[in-house]
Amino acid sequence: MSEDGRTVRIIQGNEATVEGAIAAGCRFFAGYPITPASEIAELMSRRLPRVGGTFLQMEDEIASINAVIGATWGGAKACTASSGPGISLMQEGVGYAAETETPCVIINVMRGGPSTGQPTLSSQQDVYQARYGGHGDFEIIALAPSSAQEAYDLTIKAFNLAEEFRVPVYVLSDEIVGHTRERVVMGGKLEVLERVAPSKDGYKPFAAGPDGLLRGMPAFNDGYRLLVEGQHHDERGIRAGDDIDKSATLVQRLNDKVRQNIDRIVDIERIDLDDAEVAIVCYGSTARPAMEAVQTARSKGIKAGALRLRAIWPFPDAVLSELADHTKTLIVPEMNIGKLVLEVQRTAGGRATVVGLPRLGGALHTPEEIESAIIDAVKGGKAQ
């Protein structure tokens, strides 16, 4: 441990995620083993009891997300972790968390799908599932780490955002981030949002402030006599699923509270964008060869840059739209069939050429592969 209380360790992204969660105040974890996320549960089972927390291995992922919801209303910061198949099973529970404004964190260490797919190989195929997997209209927040360090940092951030926005927040890690051992600087002065108990005075648990957000987070048996309801409800939590106006108001707010406060969420790294003609839009582990490709291209005098999204949902429409205004070509490398590239296309609105660079099968793009896409773009070789 260094003087400022920081320690450096060489650990896997999955372990960094666990340390980040605990540093963020997570004191409850319920999960179910699955490759390549199991280390998160395993390390939680070791660490949590030592900090006064609780680890539960549940009978399945459905029970896990629901236990997380119970624990959150019980007063704990809580999370679960899984991969594709397990995350699919959690969709109903995630929607419940969104509906009831239950802050919680879901870590998806992505592997190749669909179905059992590729248990031991990486992918970024679940980025849309995070947003659209559940039924009904609601917004979530999703962060995508590119390294073990970010697995640590963004997990802390995920817990903070969950508390601030009272939404489920995904950490969209992947097998590569999860299983690569790297240097991680931990501890020190961290920004951690502590849970604040709301005043009981005339308290309406689901009455939002002008920004659409609920203030604080109450717990059961602290005198609130809470009513938490998964049907649409009014500000007191009383069911209103057959009331068109109240239902519309609630659902609109559940979406707007994230959309309209997107500025508090957007998290991007800009690399050499000022004069870039070609920009790589990237996230997660794919961003690593992308950034290397940009370095190499620059060293060859090519005006390339990169926009790395650390927060992918809500999608930063405005940032991309602006980028499209100033860049000729946007290249979007992804370890999937081409998904966020659709968002980039939408926001670019025809004002820049958008090139998808999808990769299936589980192997990370090589920097060379991305570099050659950059060169193609500069040559005008590929078009939308």
Binding site: N66, A71, G74, N221, L227
Partner: protein, 270 residues
């Protein structure tokens, strides 16, 4: 409205959605009386599943969460382990508890988590309009067994016991006083406590299974179909055929989950 209801119901949520003559209201009344006698409304964490029965906690003026269909028990576990002194009571239907939620049910029993799980057995899916449940008698017609139920029902109490529950009782909506006592015992019981309550559902089960019985007829029919455990012991198998045993069916002691977790947190090696 009676005194207990006035004191313990969350008035702004009324009226209750239960149909006229539904047993759920009677069971809820008995629960309120147990809460009153135990003076525990501040310590309660009530959890409801989805189904008519799952609405019961919503009407009680205590901390309550109305969860997803079948998922009340894991939510209850999350509430319990985060503050073990909480009295977590789960209200659930036969479909909710041992239909879609059956896995959580048996695992909670196995872990012997200190929950009280009240299962309303109305032999049917009430809320959705009268489809067959895992408790529907074999041969009974319902909205999804028009030619007679080809399946056989669970004995929920037997299942609970085999899975590991340490308090198992069965009563009916026609036994409100016994229910008050059972609720008190179950809440005090340090482990997984299960109470099955056989109830009349005049609107769905009454219509589809019972050929149109109204609530009083239906309840009378239920009372005829049950025998107290003590009496059952003195009866021959022939006399017992088609009868359901009611009363305290099982009580035992096994390590309880939250205590085991506390031991782990305390650094004890189990």
């Amino acid at each position: 409205m009676n005194r207990i209801a006035e004191q313990y119901l969350r008035q702004e949520t009324l009226p209750m959605i239960f149909c006229p003559g539904c047993g759920d209201g009677t069971v809820l009344g008995a629960f309120l009386r147990a809460v009153d006698e135990m003076k525990i409304s501040d310590q309660l964490a009530l959890v409801g599943g989805i189904g008519c029965s799952g609405w019961m906690p919503v009407y009680v003026n205590a901390d309550a969460i109305h969860t997803l269909h079948g998922r009340a028990i894991p939510v209850g576990i999350g509430l319990k382990v985060t503050r073990p002194e909480r009295k977590v009571v789960v209200f659930t239907g036969d479909g909710d508890a041992i239909g879609i939620g059956g896995n959580h049910f048996i695992h909670a029993a196995r872990r012997n988590v200190d929950l009280t799980v009240v299962m309303i057995n109305n032999s049917i899916y009430g809320m959705t309009g009268g489809q067959m449940a895992p408790t529907t008698p074999s041969g009974a017609t319902t909205q999804t067994s028009p030619y007679g139920n080809p399946e056989q029902p669970f004995d929920a109490c037997r299942l609970a016991e085999a899975a590991g529950a340490t308090y198992v009782a069965r009563w009916t909506a026609g036994h409100p006083r016994q229910l008050v006592k059972a609720f008190k015992e179950a809440i005090d019981h340090p482990g997984f406590a299960f109470i099955e309550v056989v109830t009349q559902c005049p609107v769905q089960a009454g219509r589809y299974i019972k050929g149109g019985m109204d609530a009083p007829e239906f309840l009378a029919d239920i009372r005829k179909s049950v025998v107290p455990v003590a009496q059952a012991e003195r009866m021959t198998p022939e006399e017992l055929a088609g009868k359901t045993r009611i009363g305290l069916l099982h009580r035992s002691q096994r390590p309880e989950l939250t205590q085991q977790l506390a031991a782990i947190r305390g650094g004890e090696k189990r």
